[in-house]
């Protein structure tokens, strides 16, 4: 009994202690297992996993920025158009002026920053709701894409394609695996173990309750196990393939932005603005600057996503990025962010994005038509959020709350925790 409680509290309590995310991890695992069985083992093959990563990495990159936008209490509908616009500008620039591809990437990021500054200006300094500004941006930059590209596709040079379709090189002895991917896997395992030890030490320094050793051990076994499995799958594909470059970019961004949102003043301010803008303002938070930066950052990430997509499909076209904003927004909400702002985590959004990606992928592997895929995705989004809303209105906090109720006597009362990098201590509601 108490072990189940400890487990629930601590196993996933590390970075994603929000109970909704815990539920989403269950869902993700369930979806993977379901399709693994249903497709006769196709889902977890090397080839398929590599395809999923390179096919969905740009949506996941968008959902990082979207999470911050939504936490701050806004929305960005323009990301697909911004991505397409950046793609065509970069492709055109490299074609017309024969720019080297690294310069092309810098141009793309600059375009994203400029667009972001434009949208941020209207949202933060004029006070036009982000919904309207980005709805206008959606039209503006879609039109811009077609204007610049003459509604035609523009190819991109070979080197540029590596950020979307590239793999790590094969070096070192022939192990039958991609050696660099193996190295990354080892590094990830070491990092996970080190972080767990650090976390325990930090809790110790805080004189807070440290999770029982067996919990830490179990958590490490699970996480290291997942990493080893993934490493072998990604490293063991067709010769010449590995973890895709776009996947590496994604992982780097997830780590960087998770750290930023959790551990820095800037990140804290985004949550403060979304949680209670007036209170944040009266605490000295520069509201306008936070809103501006959040919108600008989103457009830069949209530009990056656009370039990765163009690189993968080796040309920029007028239909690029169509309805990406909806996928990104869905990922963020499935991942536990609050519609009213102030709540949500990067890791949650990534899990939410992966749920959508694997659902998509699995249904496609089964040959389900895109009509049904859309219907199912729509229902999943609705049910995920509805469950949570319903549970909140019942005074409980999450899907998990209702899943675990038979095992538990005390009030779940999971705190809305996001800033903690270590396990939670005992929860008991306080009165008086």
């Amino acid at each position: 009994m108490s072990r189940i409680k400890d487990l629930q509290k601590n196993l996933f309590g590390g970075t994603t202690s929000n109970a909704r995310q815990f539920g989403m991890i269950f869902t993700l695992v369930a979806i993977i297992l379901l399709f693994e069985v249903w497709t006769g083992g196709l889902t977890l093959t090397s080839g398929n996993l590599i395809a999923v990563v390179s096919q969905y990495s740009y949506i996941l990159i968008l959902s990082i920025g979207m999470l911050m936008v939504i936490v701050a209490g806004h929305i960005d509908l323009s990301v697909g158009s911004v991505a397409a616009f950046t793609g065509i500008v970069v492709a055109k620039a490299m074609q017309e002026f024969s720019l080297p591809w690294p310069v092309g990437i810098l141009v793309g990021l600059a375009v994203g920053a400029l667009i972001g500054a434009w949208q941020g200006f209207w949202v933060a300094y004029i006070g036009v709701p982000a919904f309207i500004v980005t709805l206008a941006g959606m039209l503006l930059f879609r039109g811009g894409n077609q204007y610049i590209g003459n509604a035609d596709t523009v190819p991109v040079p070979e080197g540029f394609r590596s950020i979307g379709a590239g793999f790590l090189p094969e070096i070192g002895p022939n192990t039958g695996y991609n050696n660099l991917t193996l190295l990354l896997g080892v590094a990830a395992c070491v990092a996970v173990v080190w972080r767990e030890l650090r976390a325990r030490q930090t809790r110790h320094e805080m004189q807070a309750d440290v999770a029982p050793v067996w919990i830490s051990g179990l958590r490490l076994v699970v996480m290291v196990g997942v990493i080893i499995f993934a490493t072998l799958r990604f490293a063991g594909g067709r010769v010449g393939t590995s973890l895709p470059i776009s996947g590496i970019i994604l992982i780097a961004l997830v780590l960087a932005y998770s750290y930023y949102t959790r551990n820095t003043i800037g990140g804290r301010h985004i949550y403060a603005v979304g949680g209670n803008a007036r209170a944040a303002e009266l605490s000295g938070v520069k509201l306008k600057r936070v809103n501006f930066m959040v919108m600008m950052n989103m457009s830069i990430l949209a530009a990056l996503a656009g370039m990765i997509f163009v690189a993968r499909s080796s040309a920029s076209g007028p239909q690029d990025g169509l309805s990406w904003e909806l996928d990104a927004i869905a990922a963020v909400f499935i991942g536990g962010a609050a519609v009213s702002g102030g709540l949500g985590t990067i890791s949650g959004s990534i899990v939410g994005g992966l749920v959508m990606a694997l659902l998509n992928n699995g249904l496609q592997l089964k040959g389900v038509g895109s009509d049904m895929v859309q219907i199912i995705k729509g229902l999943v989004l609705l049910l995920a959020v509805a469950f949570d809303v319903y549970n909140k209105s019942q005074g409980r906090f999450s899907i998990l709350g209702s899943l675990m109720r038979p095992f538990r006597r005390d009030d779940p009362g999971q705190p809305l925790d996001r800033s903690l990098s270590t396990s939670d201590t005992d929860k008991a509601p306080i009165a008086g």
Binding site: G284, A428, I430
Partner: protein, 515 residues
């Protein structure tokens, strides 16, 4: 005109909220065709009593009896009381700004003909009603295009459209200028001639003394007395005595004040209302604070105390028109909240939940929120330090929680207030402005908060306490400024402060020389 028959009798009404008794055995007798005033300090129970009467607090949620026109009534909602002819007009007007006068008058009460709204009849009836309340406007004018005074009249016309027998006005003149107030009072006298009964709740005692026939005084949720204005020869002083006549218990920790030099001074601070361009919320206010001094700001609701504090704190309220601020003899600029914090100001707001706290936060996050730079290097927050700081405040302020990782919503009001105090103490302020620091807090927690305020003063910090509770100010403060309609009307030293004197200065612009 008959003023003999009883229209309404509320008998021993008791209403409790979780943890608080808002009304205890309250009696109210209103005769037909009179103007009946209800007076009392903020929180005395006036509004709660009217909510019981109008069915906002439905029958069954209170104990006691309401007898109206000779029969016992049990209203289950506002609609039921309105059908009986009892209409309440709240301080915040319930009008739709984007609709016309006619549309507002008949909102929810539209004259119908064969299923659709009969606008012709509505128009005609609206003109009649507007005539009755002395409102000369085109009935198609939008509400947002007329002044507050006229909006008030539209509300009354709306009440008339429902065939009102008993009109209740909650602070009807609080937002009005002198001329509009006068018109409204004349109107009430006119209604009396026509046999319409009114209940008026107001802080403006001069108006009440002038217009009311009977005055019922509430204090701490009890009926204190009912005065017949003419027979008892009631004047403002008499009302004040009834409102504040309360013993000061030893509700305050022992403290020996030791104020130092004046270190903070505000001169001619003038601010206008954020929307209404004519209304000044601070009219050339000047005041000083000494090191280690606890300075009170007394005033009734809407007097402009919060507006003064928030406009000082980084111009967080209204539009700054003029005024200078000096600290330690040097002029300082307080254009943004960040600047104000930098100069050592801290403002603890009167509404913790709406603007004081992020309710999604946990305790430790809230405590450090106003000065994250103190626990950060290069923008990265040291979470061990954050936890340590929070633990320190948890112990020193005795916040009742098993862990600083708890969400702030799980705390009681008193403990939430301690978290907010910690948040501002963490910024190392020289001057703390505490706006209603004990609102909605039980007696025990109040005592602790007083102790914290006194400790802050002993550390040489200046503390400004804004409070609507006179006993609190008298018990706690070394000096009290009184504020009335945006003007500082008095500066009363600790020894001279008594409730009657303060109440007089809080309800009149005339400066009364301190004895």
């Amino acid at each position: 005109m008959t003023v003999d028959s009883t229209l309404l009798e509320m008998r021993s009404i008791t209403k409790t909220f979780p943890g608080v008794t808002a009304l205890e055995d309250v009696n109210l007798v209103v005769r037909s065709g009179e103007i009946h005033a209800i007076c009392g300090e903020n929180g005395a129970g006036k509004s709660t009593l009217m909510k019981v009467l109008s069915g906002v607090h439905p029958h069954g949620t209170y104990t006691g009896q309401i007898v109206y026109q000779g029969d016992e009534v049990r209203f289950s909602n506002i609609r039921a009381s309105e059908q009986a002819g009892i209409v309440i007009i709240h301080q915040e007007l319930a009008l739709v700004p984007g609709m016309s006068i006619t549309e507002n008058i008949f909102l929810g009460n539209e004259p119908r003909r064969r299923g659709s709204i009969d606008w012709k009849a509505a128009q005609r009836r609206a003109l009649e009603l507007m005539e009755q309340v002395g409102l000369r406007e085109d009935p198609d004018t939008l509400i947002k295009d007329i002044g507050v005074g006229k909006q008030q009249l539209v509300e009354i016309a709306k009440a008339f459209a429902k065939e009102v027998k008993l009109l209740i006005l909650d602070e009807p003149t609080a937002a009005l200028n002198e001329a509009d107030s006068q018109h409204l009072l004349d109107l009430l006298r006119g209604f009396r001639e026509r046999g319409i009964t009114s209940i008026i709740i107001s802080h403006k005692l001069n108006e009440i003394a002038a217009v009311a026939d009977t005055i019922t005084i509430l204090r701490d949720g009890r009926t204190i007395e009912s005065l017949d204005v003419k027979a008892d020869g009631v004047n403002e002083d008499r009302i004040v005595r009834g409102m504040v006549g309360r013993e000061l218990h030893s509700r305050f920790p022992d403290h020996t004040p030791d104020p130092g030099e004046v270190f903070f001074e505000v001169r001619d601070w003038t601010v206008r209302h954020p929307i209404s361009t004519e209304r000044l919320v601070c009219k050339g206010s000047s005041f000083t604070v000494k090191r280690g001094e606890i300075v009170g700001f007394a005033g009734l609701m809407g007097a402009g105390r919060t507006e003064l504090a928030m406009s000082l704190f980084g111009r967080s309220y209204g539009v700054y028109l003029g005024g200078r601020v000096f600290k330690d003899g040097k002029e300082i600029q307080l254009r943004t909240v960040a600047e104000a914090i930098e100069h050592g100001l801290a403002y603890v707001s009167e509404d913790r939940k709406a603007i004081g706290l992020n309710l999604l936060d946990d305790i430790k996050t809230s405590m450090v929120a106003a000065k994250l730079s103190k626990i950060s290097t290069h923008g990265v927050i040291d979470q061990v330090e954050e936890h340590r700081v929070a633990e320190e405040y948890r112990k020193s302020l005795r916040v009742k929680t098993p862990s600083v990782d708890e969400g702030v919503t799980k705390l009681s009001g008193g403990n939430q207030q301690k978290v907010v105090l910690a948040k501002w103490m963490f910024t190392d302020p020289d001057l703390l402005i505490l706006d209603e620091p004990t609102r909605g807090i039980d007696v025990g927690a109040k005592y602790e908060i007083y102790g914290i305020i006194q400790r802050l003063a002993d550390q040489g910090k200046g503390v400004i306490v804004i409070s609507s509770e006179l006993p609190e100010l008298i018990g706690l403060c070394d000096r009290i400024y009184t504020v009335f309609e945006g003007t500082i009307t008095g500066d009363v030293a600790r020894g001279d402060a008594d409730p009657e004197l303060l109440m007089k200065q809080m309800t009149s612009t005339k400066k009364i020389p301190t004895p």
